[in-house]
């Protein structure tokens, strides 16, 4: 059926001979596994990825990449590919019946390198990640299926099935990125807690030929004339592909609903009789909002859908998974390099579990609005929609998906002093800002991440640089054009951090704020770095 994309076929890896040992094995070459592999490889870690298939995602799947995710891909060197190929949007419109209830703008703020969202088929993202992984030295073993795992105190043994045999492999660290039906999770018997929703949805990706009457916006209908009693979501993707998501209700027969004879009339009712289109991809799905209790189980660590699942409303699945990878990669790299104790990896749970719960809460509330659980809930839902067309107060109550926003790790054990009031606090992702470097337009975030950075709101200071602990590089930002510093010409870098003149921000390799200092004192910076790396006091003193 797909006419706009041909899945690449990667050559299966040969079956290795002899005893096999690898420091890091990632199960699953999907969006999350590949992001994690690339990030780890860029930190100098030898990574082996095992995947039972030999290609990228079938169908468009996760299509909405949020700003924070784009910033992560920017850090990994892929940002421009997403913005060039992807469809940038920031306006959402909500309709009720045949009327517009209201419209919203996701990123009214200017001065960020990346937009609120780009829409892009998941297979493009994965294809680029595969290329970047291979260039970074990641070993991807296609058609290598894990059939058994045995975790132990120093890692895990995995039994792998290949087209021409099989082998056993011991990994010091096994990272389970093997998706919602994670084999590793199931074989370890880790239960999910959360809820299943009694509703079904149909995804129809269609290529519309000729003039299209929809702008590049997210359109959401409650109870539209062309699909009465249910909801419909429309998104634009590259290659003239449109994602249409029809709510079907629990009683719908998933096999029957996937048949083109069933899908085509639904699409035609929406687009109109005379708009020609082709079906590109069709899928019927149900969803769950749930997670496993802990993501780290000794030397086996779960990320993405293998660890947690949400409804698609809010684009919190793929984005959360990429953010898991962003959080885990630098920590594992630091542990493997001997720069941090294994305990640092417990902070992955401490930070990503609250982030997951935030995603689950938002996604559950959206789903409860879209699929009311009882007549009273439906009554209030409809009342909100009726009022929204007339009164501003009701518009924030309309919930057609609260779109993915990055989590602030407010209660993280890695956080140091806040230093001052306001602005991006410890635990928050560093906000981007336009700057000038030697007169050329540049972005603040391009100078942060990968390693620890001390962002100093002041002129370059050789004494401060000399006093910085190993592994921390200084980035100076000034309000006036100063050699050796980024020029904060619009004042946005300082204002988004609410930074006092001379203040400094310690920024982690994942671009989250670790600590802030009104006056950067070397001893305080060392202490915050030790804390951010979970180093024991004895080591800190050494």
């Amino acid at each position: 059926m797909p006419s706009t994309y041909q899945n690449p076929r990667y050559p299966p890896a040969p079956t290795p001979q002899g005893a096999q040992h690898r420091p890091v094995v990632i199960a699953g070459a999907g969006l999350v596994g590949l992001t994690l592999a690339l990030d780890l490889a860029r930190h100098g870690v030898a990574v082996t990825v095992l995947d039972e298939d030999d290609t990228v995602s079938f169908g468009s799947r996760a299509i909405c990449f949020a700003k924070r995710t784009l910033e992560i891909f920017g850090r990994l060197g892929l940002g421009a590919r997403f913005t060039q190929k992807g469809i940038t949007w920031k306006t959402g419109r909500v309709f009720h019946g045949d009327r517009e209830a209201y419209a919203f703008d996701l990123l009214p703020e200017e001065g960020h390198e990346y937009p609120a969202f780009v829409n892009l088929q998941q297979y493009y993202a994965e294809e680029w990640l595969v290329e970047a992984c291979l260039a970074a030295g990641v070993e991807i073993r296609w058609k290598h299926r894990i059939t058994r795992i045995a975790p132990d105190a120093v890692g895990a043994t995995v039994i792998v099935d290949t087209p021409d045999g099989g082998y056993a492999l011991h990994a010091d660290w096994l990272l389970a990125c093997d998706g919602a039906r994670s084999f590793i999770r199931e074989s370890m018997g880790l239960p999910f807690t959360g809820q299943v929703f009694r509703d079904r949805f149909l995804i129809a990706d269609v290529v519309i030929k000729g003039d299209v009457q929809f702008p590049t916006e997210r359109w959401f209908w409650f109870d539209p004339p062309f699909h009465p009693g249910q909801s419909v979501l429309l998104h634009k993707q590259p290659d003239d592909v449109w994602r249409i998501d029809f709510q079907l209700g629990w009683d719908a027969d998933p096999e029957e609903e996937k048949r083109p004879e069933k899908v085509i009339p639904r699409v035609r009712a929406m687009l109109g009789e005379h708009v020609p289109f082709d079906l590109e991809w069709v899928s019927v799905y149900t969803f769950r909002c749930r997670r496993i209790e802990r993501f780290r189980h000794g030397r086996v660590i779960f990320a993405g859908d293998a660890a947690h699942q949400v409804s698609p409303f809010g684009a919190r699945g793929g984005n959360a998974g990429v953010q898991d990878a962003d959080n885990l990669a630098w920590k594992l790299a630091a542990v493997l390099a001997g720069r941090a104790p294994e305990a640092l990896l417990d902070s992955y749970d401490a930070e990503r579990i609250p982030a997951t719960d935030e995603n689950i809460l938002n996604s559950t509330r959206s789903t409860d609005f879209i699929t009311p659980k009882n007549e009273a809930a439906r009554g209030y839902r409809d009342a909100v929609l009726e009022l929204a067309a007339h009164h501003a107060f009701a518009r924030p109550l309309v919930n057609s998906g609260r779109l993915s926003r990055p989590s602030t790790y407010a209660a993280s054990p890695l956080n140091g002093p806040a230093g001052w009031e306001g602005g991006a606090p410890p635990g928050a992702p560093a906000p981007d800002a336009p700057v000038l470097q030697a007169g050329r337009p540049d972005w603040l975030l391009r100078h942060l991440g990968d390693g620890f950075r001390l962002l100093v709101f002041g002129a370059p200071d050789a004494a401060l640089v000399a006093a910085l602990p190993a592994g921390v590089a200084a980035v100076f930002v000034t309000a006036e054009e100063t050699p050796g510093a980024l020029f904060d010409h619009a004042g946005l870098a300082a204002s988004r951090f609410a930074a006092p003149r001379g203040g400094a921000v310690l920024i982690r390799p994942d671009q989250h704020v670790a600590a802030r200092f009104a006056l950067p004192d070397p001893a305080a910076i060392v202490s915050a770095l030790e804390r951010a790396l979970c180093r024991y006091p004895a080591e800190a003193a050494a």
Binding site: Y380, D382, L387, A394, L397
Partner: protein, 71 residues
């Protein structure tokens, strides 16, 4: 802001008549929708989350049967 449950409506009979009049000629479903819209409008007027919580609690409690109250 706490929930004020002392009498605040100057013309109680007039208000009650107004409320009932608003529902005249409506089906049960239409009435429910009207009440839902009214609750939302009034809730926004109150605004304060603590007062709204207390109001929901008070509404639930007053609907509890006497025989259930002690449980």
């Amino acid at each position: 802001m706490t929930l004020d449950t002392t009498p605040r409506i100057a013309d109680p009979d007039g208000f009650f008549a107004l409320l009932v009049e608003a529902h005249r000629g409506l089906s049960a479903e239409e009435s429910r929708r009207l009440d839902a819209r009214l609750v939302l409008i009034l809730a926004n007027q109150v605004g304060d989350m603590a007062a709204l919580c207390a109001a929901i609690e008070a509404a639930r409690a007053a609907g509890t049967k006497v025989s259930d109250a002690g449980r």
